[in-house]
Structure formats: structure tokens, C-alpha cells
């Protein structure tokens, strides 16, 4: 808990939270202001439109925020010499990882709650009265999904952090991980699918390959989860086409969170500062 508290305090103190809140809030409001235009023809509530536009951008932004938070966690402490202190203190190494994650989860949660949450208030009260809160559930789901996606990349950042000996290397690899999972993976998958003309990949394998990427799992969770949202996003029927079991995307996200954390705990056990 002490470690979590320190991470949160550091996040607040070095204005990380402030920057992230500002970024998310500006993004949400800008998209809200612009986002009502393309939705004109399709009838949809402001919230559902916001979910679609925010999730489409959040899928790039939140992993980036996540790796930025995570990649410094161990290698940075090591360079400052404080890691030896933490490891020499009567605190278990798993507790150290848990404390860090808790702190970073709080930092990220705060940024999302204030950023996206603040935008939600604007959308609700700035809207057309009556049905203002319609689609609020989908929006809330988007916020929670964003938090989870961010945490997945925090955990991946930890893994990078513990596997490298210098902060700059960790930063570069972290950006590489982000690029790979957020951008390249999908492009490669589409490329393979197109090149093979549907023969190389059968439909269910393709579905799983899509869902196994945490960012795509996030898209499925936030965009295809609500039928109305899916319609706005043009993703109607995607989940049924993909034929994935119920909750698969959530399972994938949790797996992406827990597997790196377990690996980090094991590696930290052998870590020699």
C-alpha cells in the first residue's frame, strides 16, 4: 500500500495525471463537438457516438499512456538506486509488483475518470435534454474497458522495464511493443487475410487471431458489445460473424494483464539490481 501511495503521489506530483486528464478530456470534447456531424444520418444518442469516436482513438492513446507509465517502473528505480532499497526492505517482491500496479491503476483510473468522466458530464448536460443519458451504460463500459486496456500496457511496460538495463532502451522497446500490438498486428493480419484470399485463414482462426490482440479485444468489448453502438461503428454483426464465445474479449484482456504480471513477479524474484 505504501508503494501504491507513493506511485499515485508521484503521478500527481509530476503532473502526469494532469497531463493525461487534459489529453483525454480535450480529445473527448473535441470529438464530441465534431462527432455529431457524421452521425446525422444515423439516429444515435450522443453517448453512443462518443463511445465510437473515443474508443477509436483511445485504442491508440491508452496503450501509449500505459507503456509510458509502466516502462520506467523498475529500470528507473534501478538507475536511481532506489530499487536496491525497495528490495532490501522487508517487503515481498510480489507485493512490490502489486503495489506498483495498484498505484499505476489509481493514476490511470483517475485520468480516465476525470478525463472521460468529465466529458460525459458535458455530453449529458450539454445535450438535448430527455434522453441525454441513453447509451450511458455503453459509455461506462468504454471507460472501464479503457482502464483495463491501459493496465494491460502498464503490465507490458513492467515486463520491458524488468528485462532491460537502461531507461532509454526500455523506452524504445516499450514504444516498439505499442507499435507492434496497436498498429502492425492488425495491418499484418489484414495483409495475410487479403493475400490469401480467405484460403490461408479460415474464419474462426481469423476471429481468434483478431481477438487475441488486446487492442482488438478492447474494440470488440466497447464497440460491438452494445448493438446500437455497433450500428454506429459499422460493426453490426461483427461479433456474430467472428463467432467468438461470450466474454472472450474480456478473457483475452485479463489474460494480457495477468500473464505479464506473473512473468514480472517471477523475473523480479531473480532480479539482481
Amino acid at each position: 500500500m505504501a508503494i501504491a501511495g507513493r506511485e499515485l503521489r508521484l503521478g500527481l506530483r509530476n503532473r502526469w495525471v494532469l497531463a493525461a486528464v487534459g489529453l483525454l478530456l480535450v480529445l473527448a470534447l473535441a470529438l464530441h463537438a465534431l462527432g455529431t456531424l457524421p452521425a446525422g444520418a444515423v439516429e444515435a444518442t450522443a453517448f453512443r457516438v462518443a463511445v465510437v469516436s473515443l474508443a477509436s482513438l483511445g485504442v491508440y492513446l491508452l496503450p501509449l499512456l500505459g507503456v509510458m507509465l509502466g516502462h520506467d517502473a523498475f529500470v528507473g528505480e534501478r538507475e536511481r538506486g532506489t530499487l536496491a532499497l525497495l528490495l532490501a526492505a522487508p517487503v515481498g517482491r510480489a507485493a512490490l509488483v502489486a503495489g506498483k500496479l495498484l498505484g499505476h491503476a489509481a493514476v490511470l483510473g483517475l485520468a480516465i475518470a476525470l478525463g472521460f468522466g468529465g466529458a460525459a458530464l458535458v455530453i449529458a448536460f450539454g445535450g438535448d435534454g430527455g434522453a441525454a443519458w441513453a447509451g450511458g451504460a455503453a459509455y461506462l463500459r468504454m471507460m472501464l474497458g479503457s482502464w483495463l486496456l491501459g493496465l494491460v500496457f502498464v503490465a507490458l511496460g513492467y515486463l520491458v522495464s524488468i528485462g532491460t538495463r537502461e531507461r532509454t532502451t526500455a523506452g524504445a522497446i516499450a514504444i516498439g511493443v505499442w507499435l507492434l500490438l496497436v498498429v502492425i498486428y492488425d495491418l499484418a493480419l489484414i495483409g495475410v487475410a487479403l493475400a490469401g484470399g480467405g484460403e490461408w485463414l479460415d474464419a474462426s482462426l481469423f476471429a481468434w487471431l483478431v481477438a487475441l490482440n488486446p487492442t482488438d479485444a478492447y474494440r470488440l468489448l466497447t464497440l460491438a458489445g452494445d448493438a446500437e453502438v455497433a450500428r454506429v461503428a459499422g460493426l453490426l454483426g461483427v461479433t456474430s460473424d467472428l463467432a467468438l464465445p461470450q466474454g472472450a474479449e474480456l478473457g483475452v484482456l485479463f489474460a494480457w494483464l495477468l500473464a505479464p504480471l506473473a512473468l514480472v513477479a517471477i523475473l523480479l524474484g531473480r532480479y539482481e539490481p
Binding site: 500500500m1 507513493r6 503521489r9 536496491a84 532490501a88 526492505a89 522487508p90 517487503v91 539482481e272
Partner: protein, 313 residues
Amino acid sequence: MMPLAEEHAAEVILRGVRKAYRRTVILPGLDLTLPRGETLALLGHNGAGKSTVIKLMLGLVRPSGGAIDYRDAEGRAVDGAYWRRGVGFLPESLAFPGNLSGRETLRFHARLKGCPPQEADALLEDLELGDAADARVRTWSKGMRQRLGLAQALLGSPATLILDEPTSGLDPALRRALYARIEAHRAAGGTVLLSSHALNEVEHVVTRCVLLHRGTVCAAGTPATLREQAALPIRVRVTAPASVLAALAARLGSALHWRTLGEDVAETACMQHRLPGLVQAIAACGDAVRDVEITPARLDAVYAELGRQDAAQ
């Protein structure tokens, strides 16, 4: 001064401890004991293995071979983790997060160690950091940060203090303050292990020195015995009228070579066993001798000599 946490005191014994990273051997097989109540200095150049020894004791790195034992006052084997609960550790080149205040930083470490936050506040006052305690560490001077590191090590009144290069970057006044702390800790019955290459200063605070050279002990003992081992000459400087100096030199014969430093000052160097005869001869000159200065070889000269002898073998 708070009472020491005596219950976690233990003797640490390294037996044939080996440490290697891939092909780089840091310690080829080290035997070393840190007895309870001792103030032990680990001396050596950069890369001699001092920090590695400390990290091995603290369980931060694992030995590639050999064993590390921890024994309580009755000689019973205890767990390393038990001993570590009574250790205050100041790592080499420590940098606390600049965006937290000194008080926040120290309270955080107090929580990690399970100490009440008041103890952190008391230590800040004690180390004269009270005035700046609520300013961010970023704005602190190097000396203040080093004291914060020391305060962190002193939290919980540990039975054992482990200080890795504690004086690097400290001005002389702060160094003296640090050594006063170490003295106080020893006086209270505590154990201290410190690594240093500021050899001349540690000789006044330590009870025993271990000289490491490429991961092996090249000399060990009290500062005095190390000096004997190195067999370095003692400098004797005499201030007296030139005629008296000439008579003195004549009486002592050609075994001693005198160097004239001024009109009435001369200096010679002699080995330990010749010193009593020299002093007698000077005393025989009576009041004509206005001043005598006897300077034993400084510990860093001893260190250089022992290192040279070791390398020659």
C-alpha cells in the same frame, strides 16, 4: 538516541563465496566475517567487489557458489531475512524521486519498514533537515540528499548499518558528522559495515579493515596492523638549530638519511623498529629541540603498498 533493535543482530559469515556474471568473475571465492558489534571497513578500488559483497549479504544478488551464514549471539544459525529486518542500508549513488518532499520520502520508507511516521520526522530534525523537510528533494543540495539517505538507513534503529560509499560527495564537515553517527552507533552496541576508498578518514572510525583486490582479501586487520604489514617508513620531522640537527644526524649515523626542509627543520624516515632509538636520540638533545612531528604512513599509502605487494605475488 533510540535503543537498537538488538533482536535482529547477527554475525554474517561468507565462506568461499563466489560471484560471477557470465564470464566476468567478481569474487573468485571470498571468506569474510562481519562480527556483531564491529565497525568494519571494506576498502578497495572501484571494481574490487565491495558493493557485490554488500549486495550478497543483503540477499540482493545470489552467490554463484559458496555459502553465507547468519548466526545469532548464541551461535545458532538464523535466516538471512531475519538479520535483514535489523539492517539499515545506504546504497551507493542513491537518488530519491525529486518530486516528493523529504518528509514524504522518509515517511514512505518508514512505512516500508513498519516504523511510525513520527520516527521519520524525528530523524529529519535530528539530521538538521527539519527546515527543508517539506520542500521537494529536487531542490535539495547533494549533502542534504545524502543525509536523507542516511536518515532512511537509520529508521527503526537497526542493529546493523550497511553504508556503501557513504562519504562520496560529502564536504569535510558532513563527513565528520557522518563518522560521529557511526561512532554513536558503535557505542550503542551496533554493527557497522562501510565501504570506502576514503581510507584516511575511515581509519579513525573503524575497528577493522578488509582490503579487497579483484575480489580477494589482500589484507585484513586493524588500521595499525595493516600499517605494520605494509612496512612503510614513519616520517620524523625535527625543528632545532642547524648545529643541533647536524649533531643529531652525526650521532645516528648513516643509516638514516636526513633531508633539510628549511634553516632549522630536517626530516627523516625510519622503519617502526628504529623509532624508539631515534626518539631517544632526539630527547637527548634537550631543550634545543623546539618541535618534533612523527607521522605514521597514511592508510592510503598502506593500501597502495599492499595492493602493489599483492599484485607482485
